[in-house]
């Protein structure tokens, strides 16, 4: 996926789409942390890259100076039509208070611990069905045949749309996130996704169901129904945020277990480790790096940040900071002290974290229950997607 010019130095010219960075960002972060803990680039606009835990957390908590109005770092050509359908972006992720506060409050109950428990059986059956489909073959692509198939179907159920559309959803979300620097693909993804939701909204105005979309359409805030722009933005967010991210976490976890037989054997022998192991895998392979926009000129850790600059919320690097985690680059399945920030920190903590954690746990549990022994078919075949969501996209494994 080398679509970029060679990097001239990671401290002043970093590029999150660089093929080397996507393959192994860890060694780059380790070096930056000690030489230039807040790196900078002018690629795709002035952008900063913090790598230390304390800095990333401080930035996440300072919502006054670091706004969420822009959470992407790849500018979308032709992004600003006169009458945008998504007038408010994708609230609450791309909103500051007060819009953030009330839109988030509308979403949270759909992803509460209790609600998510209700999706556990569906997720388990889905995982079992997928494994049954390839178990006899003796091999599978753990990314595209398995990890990729799970989150989109669960999200479809929550949104109240047919689960057969899951592959279509996945295609749109990849166009929007993974191929964001390909203007044509990105436009196609945005168009497909919005067109779909506009149609679904119309349908639910007359035939409401007991799904998230229907409820948003019939919700009033301060006596007024929600604007359609807000409903569409929230629906698009649930889909975009819930697919690539969780799928990447499942894929990375299976990659780790395929390449670390001692951890795999331990987890098979001690399934009670799962709750801690899931958190540790999330720490070590955090998929998501959202951005913030600098609200006004400010100096942060000696860096002269200008209004409009982007700051990458490098939660994955924070989670590898040796000052915050002992043996930070090693996966310790029963790590006890683990204040990881894979789901962010502060008021924008991932609203779907309960769902993501459940899907990851069930996906790994069911895989190990049926396929306790597996390894990479050929390490050279594995490919990773990167940028703002990192995870394996081609991951062929052989069972036994």
């Amino acid at each position: 996926m080398a679509r970029t010019e060679a990097v001239q130095g990671w401290d002043t010219d970093f590029d999150v789409l660089d093929a080397g960075y996507i393959a192994d960002p860890f060694s780059i972060w380790d070096k930056l942390r000690t030489t230039c803990p807040v790196a900078h680039t002018d690629r795709r606009g002035s952008t900063w890259l913090p790598t230390r835990y304390d800095d990333v957390v401080a930035l996440a908590h300072d919502v006054e100076h670091f706004s969420s109005l822009e959470v992407g770092v790849i500018p979308f050509e032709g992004d600003e039509p006169d009458d945008p359908v998504l007038l408010y972006g994708l609230p609450p992720i791309s909103a500051d208070p007060p819009l953030h506060t009330w839109t988030r409050r509308l979403l949270l109950p759909w992803f509460s611990h209790n609600q998510v428990e209700g999706y556990e059986e569906l997720t388990r059956q889905l995982c079992v069905g997928l494994i049954d489909g390839f178990l006899a073959d003796g091999h599978a692509d753990a990314a595209s045949d398995y990890a990729q198939q799970i989150p989109a179907r669960v999200i479809a159920r929550i949104l109240g749309v047919p689960t057969e559309l899951a592959d279509t959803f996945t295609g749109w979300v990849r166009d929007v996130l993974e191929f964001a620097d390909d203007a044509e693909r990105r436009a196609r993804g945005v168009e497909g996704l919005l067109g779909f939701f506009i149609e679904q909204v119309e349908k639910r105005r007359t035939e409401p169901g007991d799904d998230l979309l229907s409820e948003l359409l019939h919700t009033e805030v301060e006596g007024e129904p929600l604007e359609e722009s807000v409903v569409l933005g929230m629906a698009a967010l649930v889909l975009i945020a819930g697919v690539d991210t969780t799928w990447s976490a499942i894929g990375s976890s299976l990659w780790h277990l395929a390449t670390h037989p001692e951890d795999r054997a331990r987890l098979v022998a001690e399934p009670s480790l799962m709750p801690l192991a899931v958190e540790e895998l999330l720490r070590a392979y955090s998929p998501v790096t959202m951005a913030r926009m600098v609200a006004g000129d400010i100096e942060f850790e000696g860096c002269p940040m200008k209004a409009g600059d982007k700051v990458l919320m490098n939660f994955p690097a924070a989670n590898r900071d040796p000052n915050a985690f002992e043996d930070a680059d090693r996966v310790v399945l029963d790590r006890a002290l683990n204040r990881h920030v894979a789901f962010g920190s502060g008021i924008h903590r991932c609203a779907g974290s309960n769902l993501a954690r459940m899907e990851l746990r069930i996906a790994v549990e069911e895989w190990l229950a049926r396929i306790p022994e597996f390894h990479l078919a050929d390490p050279a075949e594995v490919t990773w997607a990167g940028g703002q969501v990192r995870g394996p996209r081609i991951l062929p494994v052989v069972f036994g």
Binding site: L108, P275, A336, L337, G346
Partner: protein, 61 residues
């Protein structure tokens, strides 16, 4: 437990459901008066050590 610091990560509830409850908005609270029953001290410490917001504090009695 400091409710102003809690951001709903629910790590405490996931690790020690005997000691914490969590509402529909993710807000966690300590069950009862916060005294940790015998035998659950390790789980309580695990919850403290896993809160990304430093919202839970251990107080010795």
């Amino acid at each position: 437990m400091d409710p102003d610091k809690c951001q709903g990560h629910a790590r405490c509830y996931a690790l020690a459901p005997e000691l914490f409850s969590v509402d529909d908005y993710g807000q966690s609270t300590v069950i009862g008066d916060g005294a940790v029953p015998e035998g659950l001290e390790d789980k309580a410490r695990l919850a403290v050590a896993n809160c990304p917001e430093y919202a839970i504090e251990e107080i010795a009695d």
